[in-house]
Symmetry: C2
Subunit: 331 residues, 2 copies
């Protein structure tokens, strides 16, 4: 099953079910006006949504207009982003000039969850000097997870899988890390690809709590990376168990994988600029790739071995906030 | 004006306006069923709420049952907690055995915001071995703050002031700080005192973006601290400007002061156990006060110079989660 959210003028948008060929859709109906509302009673919602999915499989539904789509979950009560790819963590130490992180546990921070940009929304930033970077990653949306849930059991709470761009401001990142408090200024709102899909719908692409699909990234039309999600040191179920060790996870919590990265990065490339810069530092002594400029475009799309695009493509342009808001303070 | 939230079986509860003597209340009405809904259009809500407040001032309203009260804002889209008292930060370095934090900016992390415990709810934890500690602090709730808002202008977005207990698990805190990612396991849900009050209602207790009131804390009936909120290194307006540097703050965002602490701690005491332990380490070479045990009670109440209690008292008992949930995983 594949879900999406259509713009309807409300903060949470309108929940729709999307056909397997992504060409048709049908509204979930008045009982589940939004995906957030569906997470208020997921078991009941899932049954209703599957019934709608059955109608779509039978050829019903209306044509889907991709331009109408927002993030599948435009806002959530909680966004906990991991950093589960060891090679990414290792390369970021090079990029940031920081010491190895002394932890046998997953790395995780709590980020801004009151807004996720849609897959085609322009993304505004205040300044190119902040070091604007993308981070291609996968995420899962969970039903309510009780405190103390172990990793094995955590698998059962994973209801939907999503693809995320965790926008980052690199020049602000290291000073915030050094406080130990995590990131506020370095982590503005993320973006989400059009479709949230059930684990079953990913088929062989979902194994051992990992999204085993290539994440194809293009920056201004040039190929940038093609890393596969299979190399997570900790699977999503382990990230969930980590997060739920001392808190109940509210239904609709989104858990992120962190930037998708592979040990074979020389061949597959990267999922963020900072990591490419670290690779340049290792090979050439200094970084040569700059961060993003206003007007830059980034496109991210997970690909199935058969060429499918389970989450749909995310295609975004970085824009100067001051052009969007002439009345911006300090403008 | 003084607002509170009454339990009514919904996640956000029922918004009520409370009389100045805290003895009577009246529901805000169907247009503003909850405080969160009021932050959907604060200007309009504020006018309506002030009309209800006028009725209360004229002697109308029903008797207020304190036992019915939840946190004034039982859940929010965003909780950004600062650490703005320099003496607290200095003492925590002693307690944690960490280096001074190299930052001229406010310290701030994003915490769990999907649930705030009510003022009299028992607060469950998984284990005394985690180092259960309270942290008495103040907070503000803001209307939507545009990205780039400066500190002076930020004052105008502060709509309500609250009193918070930021529960902390100290044994988990240092390893998480050392990752640079901030706290997940060390920071479970916070509690909130009964009443959210407007800056005007605090009178002289609200000056220069600071809550200039003593925060009286008792632990198991014994006096523990009486620190005043005036010594924040950064005022709330400066914390807001910090948070809004690269993100729009969603309406209803809660910004915390961090643990209230004074340079005169030898006289006034502390607002968390960890800080008292640091003071013991300085004076006697080692800490002698243990963290909380199941069954312990903590009471926090800000006091006005005239003896008033603007936020009401928060009186809570720490309980073993396993007694509440016999089916807890691993139990």
């Amino acid at each position: 099953m594949r879900l999406a959210t259509r713009a309807n003028g409300t903060p949470d948008g309108e929940l729709i079910v999307v056909s397997e060929d992504q060409g048709r859709a049908r509204v979930a109906g008045p009982r589940w006006p939004s995906l957030l509302s569906a997470f208020g009673d997921w078991s009941a919602a899932e049954a209703d949504l599957q019934a709608v999915d059955g109608c779509l499989a039978a050829g019903e539904g209306e044509p889907l207009d991709p331009a109408s789509l927002r993030a599948p979950l435009p806002r959530a009560w909680q966004w906990l982003d991991g950093s589960a790819f060891q090679v990414h963590a290792d390369l970021m130490q090079v990029a940031f000039g920081t010491d190895p992180i002394p932890s046998d546990k997953p790395l995780m921070y709590q980020g801004l969850s009151d807004r996720f940009y849609g897959p085609f929304e322009p993304v505004p930033f205040r300044s190119e000097a902040d070091g604007i970077d993308f981070e291609g990653e996968y995420g899962v949306i969970v039903d309510a997870v009780p405190l103390g849930t172990g990793a094995a059991e955590a698998q059962t709470y994973i209801k939907l899988i999503v693809q995320i761009n965790d926008w980052s401001l690199r020049k602000l990142a290291v000073p915030e890390m050094k406080t130990g408090f995590g990131w506020i200024q370095a982590k503005p709102a993320c973006s989400m690809a059009p479709f949230a899909v059930t684990p079953a719908a990913l088929g062989a692409g979902w194994r051992d709590g990992r999204v085993c699909l290539d994440l194809t990234i293009h920056w201004n039309g040039a190929h940038f990376g093609n890393a596969n999600g299979r190399e997570m040191r900790f699977g999503f179920h382990e990230l969930i168990a980590h997060a739920a060790a001392t808190r109940d996870l509210v239904a609709g919590t989104i858990i992120g994988s962190g930037t998708v990265a592979n040990t074979d990065y020389a061949k597959v490339g990267s999922s963020c600029i900072s990591e490419r810069r670290a690779i340049e530092m290792i090979s050439a002594g200094k970084p040569k790739t700059d961060f993003m400029a206003f007007g830059d475009r980034v496109r991210m799309e997970a690909r199935s071995p058969n060429g499918g695009s389970p989450f749909g493509a995310m295609a975004q342009t970085v824009v100067d906030l001051r052009t969007l808001r002439p009345q911006l303070p300090g403008n």
